[in-house]
Symmetry: C2
Subunit: 498 residues, 2 copies
Amino acid sequence: MEDAIQKIDGFFNPRSVAVVGATKKIDKAGHVIFKNFATNKERGVFKGDLYPVNPNEDSILGFKCYKSISKIPGDVELIVVIIPAKAVPAIMEEAAQKKVKTAIIISSGFKEVGNKELEDQVVAAATKGGIRVLGPNCLGVYYSKTGIDTLFLPETKVLTTGDDVVATPRPMPGNIAMITQSGAFGVAALDYLTGRQMGVSKFVSFGNKCDVTESDILHYLLHDKETKVILVYLEDVKDGREFLRVAKKVTVKKPIVIIKSGRSAAGARAAASHTGAIAGSDKIYDAAFEQGGIIRARDMEEFFDIGKALAMQPPALGKNIGILTDAGGPGVMTVDECESLGLTVERFSEETEKKFQDLKDKDIILKIAATSNPVDLTGSVTDDMFVISADLMFQDPKIKGIILLGLHHMPGLREKYIDGIVETAAKYSKPIVMCDIGATEMALYTRSRFDRLCVPSFESPEDAARAMKALVAYGEYLQKNGCSDEYISAFKKVCTPK
Amino acid sequence: MEDAIQKIDGFFNPRSVAVVGATKKIDKAGHVIFKNFATNKERGVFKGDLYPVNPNEDSILGFKCYKSISKIPGDVELIVVIIPAKAVPAIMEEAAQKKVKTAIIISSGFKEVGNKELEDQVVAAATKGGIRVLGPNCLGVYYSKTGIDTLFLPETKVLTTGDDVVATPRPMPGNIAMITQSGAFGVAALDYLTGRQMGVSKFVSFGNKCDVTESDILHYLLHDKETKVILVYLEDVKDGREFLRVAKKVTVKKPIVIIKSGRSAAGARAAASHTGAIAGSDKIYDAAFEQGGIIRARDMEEFFDIGKALAMQPPALGKNIGILTDAGGPGVMTVDECESLGLTVERFSEETEKKFQDLKDKDIILKIAATSNPVDLTGSVTDDMFVISADLMFQDPKIKGIILLGLHHMPGLREKYIDGIVETAAKYSKPIVMCDIGATEMALYTRSRFDRLCVPSFESPEDAARAMKALVAYGEYLQKNGCSDEYISAFKKVCTPK
């Protein structure tokens, strides 16, 4: 492993961890974080050595407590620091003495509130000791595989009714890496991803990024086999040139989706008082992201939607899309959105049109079905009609991807078609996304089942179209960068039917 | 009641209904629709006389069945027609003889598949008899209060696991009218509205609109006391001038939100084969909607989001918005979106700034809180901090509406603040919308609770900003049309705290 990567890997795979500021007071961040480690150690997930550090305690949760880092008998690879800001520089000096390799500084009260000097002292001590620092003013790391969990927000809350409800959940393992400058957006993202059953490979909240930057983490994730897509929330970029250099390397291997806030003048002002970010001209960011092959999401929902599509489906090798629907109106809405995004919805090749006519002649699909793209099987759709039509569309060389609108309301449609669509899609390297509209049981069931089988599902026609647009845009980017069609098609569909 | 209104009212308040094409075959639309009426009659909701019409049956669900409409002894005000298209003209002739007042023609196979002549015959018979016709090729009407329910899609479906799940739910009563050219979009909308707990006053799917048009329904809804907001899905407008004339009358009384599909060339082609719509130039629609004060939604999600905001909150009397957050990043995202939508997020008046400083001096809010709009109370927020800050912001004359970002993840935030915010908001006529991010228990609970107390909640910062934009745009429209501030402020918040 190259040195820079190995250093960053210390945040995810440390053999020993000291929690500086661990405490018995249960409502404190220092307690929550230490308890996360202790619990994960007990469960056998965190396999390293664990040391609480606090001059005022003898033991915490059954672990012997140390007065200072220097008093710990064994090696300490990672320290997690949750103490008042002004005490942090001294701790870093001590950590350097102890040959600590990495530090996550959770504490706030640095640059973001004007204390730049204090932050500089931290950096100076860390640099001298060769310690890589994440933060300060951050949430740190969540990595389920090794049990690194520095999230200090309560996992559940008790309502006044007495009910204990999930408040800050931990997502299941998956192939999406989430890195964020805003801690609040980070936990919100974890909540969203968990609820939508989107799995996470690594989570990193880097806050003020006094040392480890977005570029360092991207470089690490480039080589991380568990990560297929990288989602990034940014308010500014520390070193534009370095960022672009790394991004270009990453994006030919795995997509980066970004939400960059502080777009507007008032937004930039707000960002400055938040993470001390200097937002800079938004147009420059736009240009840089485009150059680096980074997909910029327009808003939060698109951010996650695009991430989901790229995590499950291969990029498209062209922009002409086939639309298959059982609902006329939503079909029209999808066509509209595709065209407004620069995708095309052209008529099929003659061969495909003939094949559809043949299906009509044989009464396999309805005579009144529209079959010139979009294919509208009408409210009289059946499972078989959907599956056979999807297969024909995949075969058409003009069609580079399919948007399926499977509105579950139609009387003849059962959930059987879901497996049929997934099996058919698995035969082709072209991407497919789907939409079902509704917010009650059958809609939730349908979308969740498609998601689990890795055909990404969306709640509106436009969301589905935007997801497809991202698959097209990423394919175009790869082609423009000299990637062969074979290379691009090797971005396999993640799941295959059982 | 004016005559035109009384006629349309016959679709919602008929004293007698005949279901032509009622049948015992349980998978048929004619069975589902008749059963809806029979069940609603049994439940005491539908209070009129009910007659099944079918030459091949003696009785259906215990109701004496009639061979034809003419054989029915009593008056028949409304007929619901579910028979093959080619038999419909004759039925309409008979209905005219019987002095039927209104007809809902569910049957398809008319203009939308090229049978314009057949549709013309229906219109001719109806016109001669003075019958108002809804459809054909539509889903008809759902009106919970009188038990009119011509939706023939299965309310539940049985999965292969044996589980019976809700497939096409009926929404709760409320103040949103939903009218739609696409039946599929209509049921999808009902599913969405039900799941999101948005109540519906009247639902009308008008399909090919051979007689009753969007304009007729809008005119009716103008006078409908149960309707506060009108949501419209359109593929074309039948008579542009009439539509504009009616819309202008309506929009100074209640907002109309539209989703108009067939925007693109390919979309228009798809629309033509769907409801036979001639979509026309999208720019002309844009101009007409603007002239008529109609709010055009960009996509499905915005359509419902705007509807929700307008159903619960009064319009804003200006475009300068206050943002109150416990999460820095999402706060910045909100500012960005507001500014990109043409709203402003200006610093507070000096007086407000002073009041906030006073709160800091008294340690009521944190010294590190940002208080110059956006107000960022930070992750150390408490219930009380949120409520007192909201109150100060409402008081500022420069602030015309508030976007609250209450990310529930923060340790010191409990659900108590929800009631506090609602009580505070109730004191002012300025609108408020909120956002909490996440998709697990506490997020769902928080949003649902705000919704029930009529502070509309949204899943992303941008969605909240767009909802506020609609409240601002509607307020501006009313002002431009000479409505006084008092008139506009009289669009009361719908709920008040208990």
